[in-house]
Amino acid sequence: MPGHKPWLPALATDDKSSRLYMKPPAFGYEAPTSIEQATALLSMHDGDARIIAGGQSLVPMLNFRLLVPSVLVDINRIAGLDEIRDDGKGGLTIGALVRHFQLEASELVAARFPILTEAVRHIAHLAIRNRGTIGGSLSHADPAAELPMMVQLLNGALTIAGPDGTRTVAARDFFDGALTTVLDDAEIVTEIALPALPAGAGWGFKEVARRAGDFAMAAAAVTLTQKDTLIEEARVAVMGVHDQAIRVPGAEAMLQGAVADNGTITAAIAAVREAVDPDDDLHATAEFRRHLIGVLVGRAIHDAWHRAAVAHT
C-alpha cells in the first residue's frame, strides 16, 4: 500500500495475534567478513535467514515480530562495501553499505547528483541516516522511500552477488511491487552504479510528508536538459503513489522536445496522474494522493527547468 509504513504492525491484520510485540523473537546471528561467506550462509539457511545491514527497517519489523528469521546475517563486517567511488566517467559507484549520512555529506555526490543530496535530506533523521544503508533501502523497497525512486531516476544499475556469481540489474527492473524486488533469498546487493547525468541537466525534487523525516505522502523527482527554448531530455519519477516508486515515461514523452510552458507542464501532470495507482491510507485518500503528485511534479518540473536554464547559459 503506497504511503503505508510497512515496517509497522498492521494492527488490523487477520493475524491479530501478531500485534503488540516489542521484543524480537529468538534468532541466531552470523557476521561474515566476505560476500562469499555471506551468500553461503544465506543459501545454507534456505530462505530462513535475513540480511541485516543498517537494521533501520529490519529491526522494527523484528521488534514487532512481523518477521521470524532463524538467523541474521550481518553484512556490516564485509570490507569494501562502504565506499562512494568516482567511476571515471562522470558517474559514481556506491557500495551497498554506504550510509544515508555518507550520501548526505559527500561532496562528490553533491557535485555530480545534487538532486540525490536533496533527496537524502528527506530520509528520516540523523541517527537513522548514520545507520541506514543504500543497499538496505533498495532491498527493502518501501514504495514511499526516496532511494528506490532516485536510483530509477538516475538510470542506476545494481550489482547483485549470489552463490553462483554476480549479475547486474537495471534499477528500473529491480523493484517488483511493495516491499518486493527481484532478489533471490541468497542474493546480496553489493553496489549501485549511477551514470553521469547529461551535461547541463537541471533538477527538481518535491516531497510532502506529514512531519520532517517521515516517510513521504508523495514525492516527485525530475531532471531536464534544455536545448534552446525546448526541453531536450526529461526524466520524471514519483513515489508514494503506486505500489512502488516508478518512472513515468508518459510524462517524460510529453516534456521531451516541448516548450516548457504551462500547457506542456499540465499535460505532463495529467500523464503522471494517469500513470499512478495510489491507495487510500490513514493520511490520504487515493484521490488526494493523485492530486498531490500532480502538484509536486509540476513544481519539480518548474524547478528543474529553472536550474537547467542556469546550467545552459
Binding site: 500485534r19 510485540y21 521484543k23 520532517a212 499540465t266 498531490l292 509540476g298
Partner: protein, 806 residues
C-alpha cells in the same frame, strides 16, 4: 548591617532560578520506574484482547506455562481474591458507574484490554510465552460510533448500566429561547475534535514488591497520583494504607494520562503478592497508544445568538462524548464532556446559556483527562463560532472578543454555570496579544500575499479556566475523592536540614524547584538548603498528586503556611536559646540573628541544642516546642487563569500543508514563582495544542482496532514542526489569594487548537472553508479546498489542481 542583609536577601519567588532536578536528569541519573532494579525481579507482559467486544470462553496456557523462564501465568480468577475491581462512583444524577476489573473477566470491552498476565525472567521470554497462550472468544457486536452506541439497546458495553449513555447532564441560566428569538444574527456549527493520546514520552510502568515479612506492598508507578493509587489499592486489597507505599519516582511526563488508576497497576500489585517476587511491567509504545486513557473525542453542536452590535445574547451547546469502555477512576466519564459544557461560555458574558452533555460508552479505551480537559474542545468550538459571529456582525475578531469579555470592573463574575471568575486579566491579555500581533498591518500583508498566491491566516483564541480547585469544586463533578486540599509537612531535622514532605508528584513541572523557592523565601534559607520529599504516599497522612493545574496553588499554599508556621517555631526555640524576644530575631541563610548585634545561631546549632544537647533547654520549655509544622491548605474555590493566543499560519492549499509561522500568548496566572518554568509550561502546552490541531489523531476502524498505534502513525510534533512561542505575562494580583499564584500547567493546550483552527480558516477564507474538525490534516484541507474551489472563483494560482508554477 542587618537591615541591609534583609534587603540583600534574594527573593526567590519570581526569579528564573535553575532547577534542582536538572543535574540528575541531565546526567542519566534520574530514576524512572523502568529503571528500578530489584533482586529476583521478574517481568510482566500482558496478553491483551485482540477484539473490541467479546465474551471470553476459554484460556489455554498449558504450553506457555512449560516454557523455560516463565514463572507463572495468571488470569482474572487467579487474582480475584487479592484485588477487587475498581469503581468510579459518583453522586451525580444520570450517571452509571462501571466496574473496572484488574484483568478482563467474563468479557473484553476494547482492543488491548489486559486478559492474562505472564510473569517471566525477562520481557523477551514473557513475549515468547504470550505467543503460546490461546484465548477463545465469542465475538459480540462492536460499538465504535458514539451516536450509534447512544441509541443501541441490544448491545450494551456494561449490562449492569442498562444503557450505553453513562452520563447525561445539562445546566444553564437565563432564557435562551428569548435570546435566540430576539437575535439579529444566529450562528451555529458542529465541531468535532478527534480522539487524542496524551503521549507522555515515558510509557506507563509499574513495579510491585511485596515484602512477606512485613506483609506490605511497595509500588513504584509512573503516575501523577501516588496518593490516589495508594488509597485505591488499600481499599481494593483490604489493607491498611500504611502497608502500601506508592512511589512516583522521576516521571517522564503525564499530561493527565498518568493520573487515573489502571487495570495493570491493580494486576501488578496482585502479581507481586502471588509470586513473591518484585514484578516489573513497562508498557511498550503500542500498548501505551492502545490502552492509556485517551481524550477529547467530543462532538459539539453550538449555536450563538448575537445582537446587531455583536453582543452575545444566548448560547446553546450539545455535547456528545465518546468515553470508551469504562468510566475512568477516579474522575468518572463525566470529566471531559461535562467540562466542555461547563466552560463553553469562556471569558465572555453570556446572559442566557443551556448546555447538555452526553457521555456514551463505546468499545475503545477509556477516555481520561488530558491537559486542559474539555476546555481545548470548548475553546475550539466557542472561538470558531465567535469568529463566525464577528463576520455576521461586521466586526474584527479582536473587536468582537473585546466587546463580549468580562471587563475589569465586572469581576467577580458569575458564569451561567455558576463558576465565579475572580479578577483576572481577560481583556489585558487580549490587548497585549493584539498589540504584539498588529492585526491591521497583518491584514494588508495577507492581501498582498494572496495576490502572490500565498495564503496567510491569523487566528485568535481566548479562554479562561479554573485552576487550583479547592474543596468546594470537585475536579470532576461528584467524583469519589477529595482533590481540594493539600498538605505540607516541614521540619528541621536533627542536623539542621530543612526537609519538606509534600504531596505533589513532579513529572516535569519543576515543582521541586518552585516549591523550594517558596519555602526558601518564607523561611529565610537558601533554595539549595531545602530538601523536598515528594511523589510518595508515605510521609503524609493524605496525598493525591499533581494534576488539574493545582500544585502551584495548593502545594504552594500548603508550603507557604507550613513554612510560616515553622519559622515561628524556629524563632521561638532560638529566642529561648539566645535569651531574646522572637520579634528581635530574623532568619537569613539558615541562620537566626539577633537584630542589631552579632549574636547568631545557625539552624544546625539550633537543631543540636533542641534535639541532641540534653539540658540546653528546660524540659518544660522543650515540651512546649517543636521544629516541625504540618499544614493543610484548601483554596475552597479556585483561581481564575486566562489567556489569549494568536497564531499566524501559511497554508498551501495545493498540498494541504500548514506552516505555523508565528505564535503569541499573553497569559495571566497571577504571581509567577519561576518565570523560566512558566514559560516552559506555556511553550510545551502550545506545541501539544498544535499537535492536537494539526497532526495528532487516534483512528479506529469499525472493528475497534487502533490504526495509529505507533509513533509513525500517531504524529506528535517534532522540533521541525514547532514554532517559537512569544509569551507575555500579565500578573493580576488578588488581595484574598494567599500566595497570589494561579494554576497554569494546562493553559497552552487549551488555547492552541482554537487559535490554529481560526488561523487556518482565515487563510482559507477565499475558499469559504469552515474549519470544524480537528486535527485539520492535509487531507481535510484538501477536501475543504476542493469543495470551496468548486463553488468559488479561484482567487490564487496555487489552489487549482493543475498548479504548476509555485
Amino acid at each position: 548591617m542587618t537591615e541591609s542583609a534583609i534587603d540583600m536577601r534574594p527573593t526567590m519567588i519570581g526569579a528564573p532560578v535553575q532547577r534542582k532536578e536538572d543535574p540528575r536528569l541531565l546526567t542519566g541519573h534520574g530514576q524512572y520506574t523502568a529503571d528500578v532494579q530489584l533482586p529476583r525481579m521478574a517481568h510482566v507482559a500482558f496478553v491483551r484482547s485482540d477484539r473490541a467486544h467479546a465474551r471470553i470462553l476459554e484460556i489455554d496456557t498449558t504450553e506457555a506455562k512449560a516454557l523455560r523462564g516463565v514463572h507463572g501465568i495468571y488470569g482474572a480468577e487467579d487474582i480475584a481474591s487479592l484485588v477487587r475491581p475498581l469503581c468510579a462512583s459518583s453522586r451525580t444524577e444520570g450517571y452509571h458507574a462501571t466496574l473496572i476489573p484488574p484483568l478482563a473477566d467474563s468479557k473484553v470491552r476494547y482492543v488491548g484490554e489486559p486478559v492474562v498476565a505472564v510473569v517471566a525472567t525477562d520481557r523477551y521470554v514473557a513475549e515468547d510465552a504470550r505467543d503460546m497462550i490461546h484465548v477463545d472468544y465469542e465475538d459480540l457486536p462492536v460499538l465504535t460510533d458514539p451516536a450509534a452506541a447512544l441509541v443501541e439497546t441490544d448491545t450494551l458495553i456494561h449490562d449492569e448500566a442498562g444503557t450505553n449513555l453513562i452520563v447525561e447532564r445539562g445546566f444553564g441560566r437565563g432564557d435562551t429561547d428569548e435570546a435566540f428569538h430576539t437575535a439579529a444574527h444566529v450562528v451555529a456549527g458542529r465541531y468535532r475534535m478527534g480522539r487524542h493520546a496524551p503521549m507522555a514520552l515515558e510509557t506507563r510502568a509499574c513495579v510491585g514488591h511485596w515484602e512477606h515479612g512485613k506483609q506490605s506492598l511497595t509500588m513504584w508507578s509512573a503516575t501523577q497520583a501516588p496518593g490516589i493509587l495508594r488509597d485505591a489499592l488499600a481499599e481494593l486489597m483490604d489493607l491498611p494504607g500504611k502497608r502500601i507505599r506508592c512511589i512516583a519516582p522521576d516521571v517522564g511526563g503525564g499530561f493527565g494520562a498518568k493520573v487515573s488508576i489502571y487495570q495493570e497497576e491493580l494486576a501488578v500489585a496482585a502479581l507481586a503478592r502471588i509470586t513473591g517476587r518484585p514484578v516489573k511491567w513497562v508498557s511498550d509504545r503500542l500498548e501505551d497508544l492502545t490502552t492509556t486513557s485517551q481524550s477529547f473525542d467530543d462532538i459539539v453542536d453550538l449555536e450563538m445568538a448575537i445582537d446587531a452590535d455583536g453582543v452575545i445574547l444566548g448560547l446553546r451547546a450539545q455535547v456528545l462524548g465518546d468515553v470508551g469502555a469504562y468510566s475512568i477512576y477516579p474522575w468518572t466519564a463525566s470529566l471531559e464532556p461535562v467540562q466542555v459544557i461547563s466552560f463553553m461560555p469562556g471569558p465572555y458574558k453570556v446572559a442566557a446559556y443551556r448546555g447538555r452533555a452526553q457521555a456514551v460508552a463505546t468499545n475503545k479505551p477509556p477516555m481520561g483527562p488530558y491537559r486542559g480537559v474539555g476546555r481545548p474542545v470548548s475553546t475550539f468550538a466557542m472561538e470558531r463560532l465567535i469568529d463566525k459571529a464577528a463576520v455576521a456582525a461586521g466586526l474584527t475578531p479582536e473587536g468582537i472578543r473585546r466587546r463580549n469579555m468580562v471587563r475589569p470592573d465586572e469581576f467577580p463574575y458569575k458564569t451561567p454555570v455558576g463558576i465565579q471568575w475572580d479578577r483576572a486579566g481577560f481583556i489585558e491579555c487580549l490587548d497585549s496579544v493584539v498589540e504584539a500581533v498588529d492585526p491591521d498591518s497583518f491584514r494588508h500583508q495577507q492581501v498582498e500575499a494572496r495576490a502572490e498566491g500565498r495564503y496567510l491566516g491569523l487566528g485568535f483564541a481566548s479562554y479562561s479556566e479554573l485552576t487550583g480547585l479547592g474543596s468546594r469544586i470537585a475536579a470532576a463533578p461528584g467524583m469519589p475523592i477529595n482533590t481540594g486540599t493539600e498538605t505540607a509537612r516541614l521540619r528541621i531535622d536533627s542536623t539542621g536540614a530543612v526537609v519538606a514532605a509534600m504531596a505533589f508528584a513532579n513529572h516535569g513541572q519543576g515543582l521541586e524547584t518552585s516549591m523550594a523557592q517558596v519555602i526558601a523565601d518564607e523561611l529565610g534559607v537558601a533554595m539549595e538548603a531545602v530538601m523536598i520529599d515528594s511523589g510518595d504516599s508515605d510521609p503524609l497522612a493524605h496525598t493525591t498528586g499533581t494534576y488539574a493545574s493545582r500544585s502551584a496553588v495548593l502545594a504552594g499554599g500548603a508550603a507557604t503556611l507550613a513554612a510560616r508556621g515553622l519559622r515561628e517555631k524556629i524563632l521561638k526555640v532560638a529566642a529561648e536559646l539566645m535569651e531574646a524576644s522572637p520579634t528581635d530575631l530574623e532568619i537569613f541563610d539558615s541562620t537566626v540573628r539577633l537584630v542589631g548585634t552579632d549574636k547568631q545561631l545557625t539552624f544546625r546549632e539550633i537543631a543540636h541544642a533542641f534535639y541532641t544537647q540534653m539540658g540546653r533547654l528546660h524540659p518544660k520549655q522543650r515540651a512546649a516546642m517543636d521544629l516541625e509544622e504540618t499544614r493543610m491548605f484548601d483554596p475552597v474555590f479556585g483561581t481564575a487563569s486566562c489567556a489569549t493566543h494568536a497564531a499566524l499560519v501559511e497554508v498551501d492549499p495545493a498540498t494541504g500543508m500548514v506552516e505555523v509561522k508565528r505564535y503569541w500568548v499573553a497569559e495571566d496566572c497571577g504571581r509567577l514563582i519561576n518565570p523560566m518554568i512558566v514559560d516552559g509550561q506555556v511553550h510545551g502546552g502550545v506545541i501539544q495544542g498544535i499537535g492536537v490541531a494539526l497532526h495528532e489523531e487516534l483512528i479506529y476502524d469499525e472493528d475497534g482496532q487502533n490504526l495509529t498505534a505507533s509513533l509513525a502513525d500517531y504524529l506528535v510534533p517534532s522540533a521541525a514542526e514547532a514554532p517559537d512561542v512569544d509569551v507575555t505575562h500579565i500578573e493580576t494580583q488578588l488581595p484574598d489569594n494567599l500566595t497570589g499564584f494561579r494554576g497554569m500547567g494546562e493553559g497552552g493546550t487549551i488555547g492552541a487548537p482554537g487559535a490554529i483552527a481560526n488561523a487556518v480558516a482565515d487563510a482559507l477564507r477565499p475558499f469559504g472553508a469552515d474549519v470544524n474538525t480537528l486535527p485539520i490534516t492535509p487531507q481535510r484541507i484538501h477536501d475543504l479546498v476542493q469543495a470551496g474551489s468548486a463553488q468559488t472563483l479561484r482567487p490564487g494560482r496555487n489552489n487549482s489542481s493543475d498548479d504548476t508554477t509555485s
